[in-house]
Amino acid sequence: MIRLYISGATPRSTRAVEALKALAEELGESCEVEIIDVYQQAARARQDNVLVTPTLIERSRGAVRRLVGDLSDSRRLRAALGLAKV
């Protein structure tokens, strides 16, 4: 499960959404993505202890990985998601 927290249509948030969208397409059906706008769904941010946006959270097998920023650095994004280098 991948969650991306964004704050409305701010520049970094929209860039982060674009980057994640591109990656999700690459990965196909196998990954489930939720994108949460903290303005409109603030309670969700609190559950995940999100302090800033954009923040990407990936949970698998009890481990939590976080990445803060616009996700434009695909190497860091892949590392955060535990994906091997292509």
Binding site: G8, A9, I35, V38, Q40, A42, A43, N49, R66
Partner: protein, 429 residues
Amino acid sequence: MSDALRRELYRLRERLAVAEQALRAIREGEADAVLAAGPGGCRVFTLEGAEHPYRVFLEQMQEGAAALDSQGAILYANQRLAALLETPLEKVIGRSLENWVPAETRPEFRQWLDRALREGARAELDLAAASGRRVPVGLSGRSPGAGVVPALCVVVTDLSESRQREDQLRRQTELLARARAELERQTSELARSNAELEQFASVLAHDLREPLRAVLNYARLLSDRCADSLDDRARRYLGRVLGGAERLDRMIEGLLEFSRVTTRGRPPAPADAETVFVQACADLRELIESAGASVTHEPLPTVMADETQLLRLFENLLANAIKFRGAHPPRVHVWAEPRDGFWRFGVRDNGIGVEPRDQERIFAPFQRAHHGPQYPGEGLGLAVARRIVERHGGQIWVESRPGHGSTFFFTLPGAGQSAYEQARGARAG
């Protein structure tokens, strides 16, 4: 170290790491908003720009709003759009808007997307909400500029309600058209049966006259030439026969006149009511003089009327006003005033008046409010008057206080209005 302490330490370390990561992101300009837990819930502090009013506007507006990339993927959406698509907001952002476009409207959607990206465009099409429900929407999209993210700003308007209203309006219009057609059918049916009835009455009156003439002629012959051979009783009976036959003849004559108002009427043309009224007074001079009546009038206008029928109308009303006189010599006054494109005429007398219960009845054929030798007549004068007025599109009625006289009112179209209608008719033809 106890397990509890170790767990606490681990939790604190984790929180510290999250906080450090957040701090670093802020320092390096990678974050654009900070979230802070407060008593009223979580608050969001935007690090860049005074975007607050725009954000509130987008979030609160009653239309769906979305920012798309050039492929149609949703980078941002407001709650209203999520509600319209019946999909949680977190499942809307990041997916392509095309996911909610049913297959049959997809070409239309792509055309709109292309045009919207190039020059801004609107479209009306159906979206499919998560439940499968079709939602008619208006899409309005415009690009903020080349190379800018997002590529397209879109407003999605739910048209379900206005479509429903349109459907309702259409249904009502159809109903109305059907009702109107039915009304027209009934009206023409009524006109046809009316015409038949009139013809029937006219034929009947005509045919009744022949045998009646024979009765009248032979009764007169009997009374003129054979009176000597009859005794008193036979002469009395013969007198009754003659009286009855003559009355029947007058009734048939009246009925024929009544039916001829429509069958022999001429088309209305401008007629000077003043001239016609003076003529009516001249025709009734004998009656007026013998009753010692005074007839006065104010200047009368030109109206659209069949002049012969207008004359008949004045004669009937004047004769009535004089006939139903009270103790004083009859005084009749006639005037006219404009009302809504019509002229309203008044004929006021100082006669015996009409009881409220009779004020409608007296305009029906053979209906009379007063009987007796001082009020001769067959009860057709006002029926003919009403028929004449209604044939001209007017109305006739009486206002009266018994013992204090009556005023008969009737309306006729003014010549000006009808001239206008004639001109309009001529243009249309």
